[in-house]
């Protein structure tokens, strides 16, 4: 179990710069969703099922939905300003 935890933590350390280096916010929300899933599996290995449950729901459903809605609204505002 220590080996598994070590692998997941190394994957986290590699995924965090990947999230930060994506410049387009639309793509970044998808990468953040995958990073949240990786975090949830790390929490599961650390014997915290409550936290893993809320992390899965928040990072796969709530954050991408809010980011997409905000980006849609921003695009609407910018297109209105260009008219």
């Amino acid at each position: 179990m220590n080996v598994l935890l070590g692998i997941v933590l190394t994957l986290l350390a590699i995924a965090a710069p990947a999230v930060v280096m994506v410049d387009d916010p639309l793509r970044q929300s998808m990468v953040l969703g995958f990073y949240g899933l990786l975090l949830a599996s790390a929490f599961f290995i650390l014997q915290a099922p409550d936290v893993a449950l809320s992390m899965i729901v928040v990072s796969s459903v709530l954050i991408p939905a809010l980011v997409l809605l905000a980006l849609g609204r921003i695009r609407h505002l910018e297109s209105r300003d260009d008219e």
Partner: protein, 114 residues
């Protein structure tokens, strides 16, 4: 192995801060803030972990079984959901910034006044 999770948590936090500093888009900046917050969750849960222990749920398990610390889990659990709401508030601020200044670049926001 005895300090590796703490080092990973610190590394993720510094990476998130670096992303905030060099960001050119407000929405990208907000998602880097949530990366910084995730580093604190890893640190909290790593502090409460015990070797060869199980989750602090005692359905069918005797209460004297070896279990991890539930206090840090209770702190992290509420924090995860509240983080999502704070991200929504920051996104609303970003939408407001576009409405007032017309730009999403945080390095341009200083120059436009009035």
């Amino acid at each position: 192995m005895s300090v590796y999770p703490y080092i990973v948590a610190g590394w993720i936090m510094v990476v998130g801060f670096f992303g905030i500093a060099r960001s050119r888009n407000l929405v990208h900046l907000i998602l880097c803030v949530s990366v910084v917050q995730s580093a604190t969750y890893v640190l909290l849960l790593a502090i409460g972990f015990r070797d060869h222990a199980t989750a602090p749920i005692f359905q069918g398990v005797a209460p004297t079984a070896r279990a991890v610390d539930p206090v840090v889990q209770s702190l992290t659990l509420t924090d995860v959901v509240v983080e999502a709401t704070v991200v929504a508030l920051l996104l609303a601020l970003a939408v407001d910034a576009v409405k007032r200044f017309g730009t999403l670049d945080p390095q341009d926001l200083r120059a436009l006044k009035g």
